[in-house]
Subunit: 210 residues, 2 copies
């Protein structure tokens, strides 16, 4: 056991190599997600990932033996990042003492316009015609949904006892948001989008109070 607790505990605990390895792995996974956003899932090549991560293909294939290994890691990586970002945005919005519903809607809207959601959308669509990817994505996506639901329930405790309304509110919000997100891929609806969001917030209020 190398237990010379003196200077850099991270170095001491992991060693330089292990630390560098972890950093490189992170860089690769970040690069993979970035490539998925920039080139699409099927357009993402190992060459591009390595290049954007700043190392050679050979080096990358040392950390992840095959492309599918990278994908596995990237999906997991994305899942964690997305959940963290969602939780952060939601709790932050719930702290502003004003209209919690409205803040939540805005935060959610930001969430589906974030590159991380684009990456997820890209993966979801690709998984439809790629069984291997589907096998990787499906469990993670289901886990995300469960944790997402749990988070929402924690952040909005004032809905307690209104379970059915809360479920409808969540589902409705989610579908509107995601529909909005994919529609914004082709068309740029500014005012009409805002109007729908306002209407949505209005209905959420009703669901909570009525």
């Amino acid at each position: 056991m190398p237990d010379q607790d003196n200077l850099d505990s991270a170095v001491a605990e992991l060693g330089w190599q292990a630390q560098k390895s972890a950093a490189t792995r992170n860089a690769i996974l970040d690069s993979a997600i970035s490539c998925i956003v920039e080139y699409g899932y099927r357009g993402t090549t190992t060459t591009a990932i390595a290049q954007k991560a700043g190392l050679s293909r050979g080096a990358m294939l040392h950390h992840f033996p095959s492309k599918l290994d990278i994908v596995r890691g990237a999906v997991e990586h994305l899942h964690k990042k997305r959940l963290k970002a969602f939780r952060k945005a939601m709790t932050r919005s719930s702290e502003g003492g004003q209209d919690r519903v409205l803040l939540g809607v805005d935060a959610f809207f930001d969430h589906v316009r974030h590159p991380l959601f684009v990456a997820f959308l890209e993966l979801s669509v690709a998984a439809r015609t790629d069984p291997e990817l589907a096998g990787i994505l499906k469990p993670t996506a289901e886990a995300f949904e469960r944790e997402w639901y749990q988070t929402a329930k924690e952040v909005f405790p004032e809905w307690q006892g209104r379970d059915e309304q809360f479920d409808i509110a969540l589902d409705l919000s989610r579908y509107v948001m995601e529909g909005l997100a994919i529609s914004s891929l082709t068309h740029r609806g500014g005012d009409r989008d805002r109007r729908v969001l306002r209407y949505l917030a209005d209905k959420l209020h009703e669901l909570r109070d009525a």
Copy 2:
């Protein structure tokens, strides 16, 4: 002018070759759309299109010199088919004398679960990272949206004078439906989806009557 109006007017007007050419082109475009649904846009190869259309690659490339030409044709083809199917479903639903809103919601829901919508979704997502495809798809998608809106207005004349409510109703329906469609790619929500649709129909009634 070969005007021997005797038996087959189509043959007489077009000639066997022209007729066969048109039929083959249709088969190719149908095959292309089918491949997009089955293999995804980036996974669609000219080999697969030709095979599914039942002719050789060489023959296909006689009708469409390049893959991009096929894509152009397929996008246009898809646009027409989708609009026709939508109009048909909507007018049919409006004829059933019962709850027109509910029938419309069901028809719309069927529409976004149809393979043609899947193909459109596939193209939309691919276009995000493919400028050439985007250049082809964007004008067509915009045209579809305009004609879709027009159709809806014709089919539901009882909303006349309630333009703002009607716009909200349409946008809301569309986003919920499309969000529902992409969510169904990963998860299979049966009851909860139905509940949201019921809620949606309820709100559409409100928008119309209130």
